[in-house]
Amino acid sequence: MSATTIEYKGSGDHRVNMRWLQQALEQDLSPKEISKSTLNLGSEQTLLGDIFSITGKLSASEITLKNSTPSLDYVGIGLPSGRTLSVEGDCGHYLGQQLAGGRLICTGSALHYAGCNMQAGSIEIMSNAGDYVGGSIAGNRRGMAGGRLLIHGDSGDFTGDLMRRGLLMVAGNIGDHCGNRMIAGTITSMGSVGENAGNSMRRGTLLFPSKPASIATGFSDCGRHSLGFLPLLMRDIRAPESAFQTLHPMRRRVQRYLGDASVDGQGELLIWIG
């Protein structure tokens, strides 16, 4: 079966809301039906067929979005399990929001809120991501609640804000306030981490190669440890092809910080040693 491709032909002047793809997948619409439906661009209306050309059936398990630009928001929102969406190019905000088990690969960078409120599945971003990766849209009580989010480049501020479950891996550097208000889950990186890491963290694990620029004030140093669970965690961390595979699978020596005491937190911040 030939792969299904969706090609963006628009100018990129307007922000384009890609929720239509979620609806089209749910209702299994034909490319013809989709082309005829309308899309709002600012205060203008256009036909979907005018800015997207679709070949193949949407019932296919693998879909490719070609020529993507940072003006496409909500790419892969709510993507269900059994579906793979490959995005060729950059993405706008809310990439893979509320991902529901699907697989999402973006060859470029994503803007803010990538993978926010994702429930299950996996997102892989080949380049950088903006703020609130794996976080929560304002007003929600929980951020990322499951699945794996892998960024090969850097991520912005508030990475893993209100994160509840899942594995968030950043091969590059992480900005400020990493793990802000984190409830549970794991965030790890191969690069540097900015200010105020672990602010208001309740539970969960932050695992970094070096000490962040600053750690939230409510953390206490608990000394050096050799933790038996780390080799188990390494299996998951080393599973996908990434810079993390250079880590030794049996590594377990860390400096451990516990906090954030300001919210009675039991979260741990682990720094590799030795």
């Binding site: 709002n40 205060s43 209306q45 849209i137 304002a138 929600n140 009580r141």
Partner: protein, 552 residues
């Protein structure tokens, strides 16, 4: 521009017109005698339609701090309901607590031409008016909150005379550009700040030293003696507490015969009978309203589904916070004046309590004999969003539809309710009273809510259909100040409303003691507190229309 609406059935209870076929003329902004118009003027054949005046919602939370808090808190509501802009309308979002533009559009699409925000905090009035000015299509007005403010409670504790209190009330009305006074859980919100968790009508608040009964009494008298048309708008004590109907009846008594309006009375009509210790006291409440001619009430009907409760009543919002769904809530202190509480809520038809609440609201509607004294509201968004009004009208007008709904509810609630035995079905004439004629009368809007020559041309034309709900949801035409703003349920022109206010006279020397109080305690200075007519028009963006006070 002159327009003639030809051949429709007219419902105008102010002039006792009950379905008579008549022509209506519109000349510029006013209704005129259709025969007086030039024969070649634009004429619209509406012979398959009925015509009522533009509807007026006298209790709807559409502006002010707590609505904004609710909007930011209910992100799900806004994410799920995005409304795109087009060349006519601006974009917006939300269903339970819609954004300002969306609220205006949805009201206009249902044939409403005015809505009144019932909880304007004096210190927050500027913000509330700005938000309401931002709400297009409809006229607005506010009721300013008193009864938990330090200044009034201090006056009462010091034994100030009624006339001094009248001056203060009039000053606040003038300063805040409002049309009425509302009291929320009199004294209770203040007591809550001092760690009291309940306050009954005749209980002396340890913090302020006065009882809710005294507060309701002096405020209702003040409003009456100042000649303000809208009676004191009372959110009684003990909202939502089983057995609170006694409190409600006691609150009616506190007015001592002076006009008083009890708002969202459904939430105040609960008994304690039955195994669950929760029952309907709609019968007792309706009887009390029927007996006490000085009492009016709006119902605050609940509808099943997701909404958010926004209230100044921190005491009772705190009491209800355990039921928050989704689980997030806030109550906060507004310095010197009031409080505010926002608790999201999902009313479920399979819940015994919610099902009975639904039934209690309808029981009150059906048992109050005089439609001039009971008003159709859902206390938007506390009972349900205002967009459920057409559904509510159908429940009132169609007995079998009502009973079908009742039969799907929690079985115990069905057993506890005597709704199924009620035969009454509201007529179109009575609906016109409840939603047009009576609100305009109780608010003192002489030029609205009726269709006589000289009235403002706020007109709703409904195309007759078998399904009353559809008819009321999508009017054929809506005219606002003579302009056609809605055609076939779609907005064709956007307009701006005005702000209705009253400005009773008072002794200016009250400002002397107020100035001392402001300098000592308030967050802004007295001069910045007052909102002038010019500021309303030029900065806030809504023209003020002043309505006269009765001389007593």
């Amino acid at each position: 521009m002159a327009i003639k609406l030809v051949g429709a059935q007219i419902y105008d209870p102010v002039h006792q017109i009950d379905g008579k076929k008549m022509d209506i003329g519109i000349d510029q902004e006013q209704i005129c005698n259709a025969d007086a118009l030039a024969p070649d003027c634009e004429s619209i054949d509406v012979s398959d339609c009925i015509i009522m005046a533009g509807a007026i919602d006298l209790h709807t939370h559409i502006g002010g701090g707590k609505v904004n808090i609710a909007r930011t808190m209910m992100i799900e509501d806004h994410q799920a309901h995005l409304h795109h802009g087009d060349h006519q309308c601006r974009s917006g979002s939300g269903h339970a607590v819609p954004s300002t533009f969306t609220a205006g559009y949805r009201y206009a699409e249902m044939g409403y031409t005015a809505g009144f925000e019932p909880a304007v905090l004096p210190v927050n009035a500027r913000h509330a008016h700005m938000e309401m000015a931002d709400t297009p299509m409809i006229d607005k007005g506010g009721y300013v909150l008193l009864g938990n403010d330090d200044f009034l409670l201090q006056m009462m504790r010091d034994g100030a005379s009624q006339s001094a209190i009248n001056d203060y009330v009039a000053w606040v009305l003038n300063a805040s550009q409002c049309i009425g006074i509302k009291v929320v859980n009199a004294g209770g919100v203040h007591a809550f700040k001092f760690n009291q968790r309940r306050l009954d009508v005749d209980e002396v608040s340890t913090a302020s030293g006065v009882t809710p009964r005294q507060i309701v009494n002096v405020l209702s008298r003040a409003v009456y003696e100042l000649g303000v048309t809208h009676p004191l708008h009372v959110h009684a004590s003990n909202l939502g507490v089983p057995g609170n109907f006694e409190t409600t009846i006691a609150t009616m008594g506190a007015a001592e015969g002076v006009p008083i309006h009890l708002t969202h009375i459904q939430f105040h009509s609960y008994g304690t009978e039955g195994d669950m210790k929760f029952s309907s006291a709609a019968c007792e409440i309706a009887e009390a309203i029927n007996k006490n001619k000085n009492v009016t009430a709006d119902v605050g009907q609940i509808m099943f589904g997701q909404t958010v409760t926004t209230s100044g009543d921190t005491m009772m919002q705190y009491y209800g916070h355990e039921h928050a769904s989704p689980k997030k809530w806030t109550v906060m202190d507004i310095e010197c004046e009031m409080g505010c509480g926002v608790v999201p809520f999902r009313y479920r038809d399979k819940s015994f309590v919610n099902a009975l609440q639904w039934s209690i609201g309808l029981e009150i509607f059906l048992q109050v004999n005089d439609p001039w004294r009971v008003f159709l509201t859902t206390d938007h968004p506390n009972g349900a969003p205002f967009t459920s009004y057409p559904h509510l009208i159908k429940l009132l007008m169609n007995r079998s539809f009502r009973n079908d709904h009742l039969s799907n509810l929690h079985p115990e609630a069905q057993r506890m309710s005597n709704l199924s035995s009620m035969d009454r079905e509201y007529s179109l004439y009575e609906i016109a009273i409840m939603t047009r004629a009576a609100p305009s009368k109780i608010l003192g809007l002489a030029d609205q809510g009726h269709l006589a020559a000289g009235a403002t041309a706020n007109i709703t034309v409904y195309r007759k259909q078998d399904d009353i709900e559809k008819m009321f949801a999508h009017p054929a035409y809506v005219f606002k100040n003579g302009k056609m703003i809605v055609k076939d349920g779609k907005i064709i022109e956007t307009v701006k409303g005005v702000t209705h206010v009253v400005k009773p006279d008072y002794d200016k020397s009250i400002e002397k003691s107020l100035r001392t109080y402001f300098d000592k305690f308030q967050t802004i200075s007295l001069d910045n507190f007052k909102i002038s007519n010019d500021e309303m028009e030029e900065c806030i963006g809504s023209r003020v229309v002043e309505h006269p006070c009765k001389k007593t």
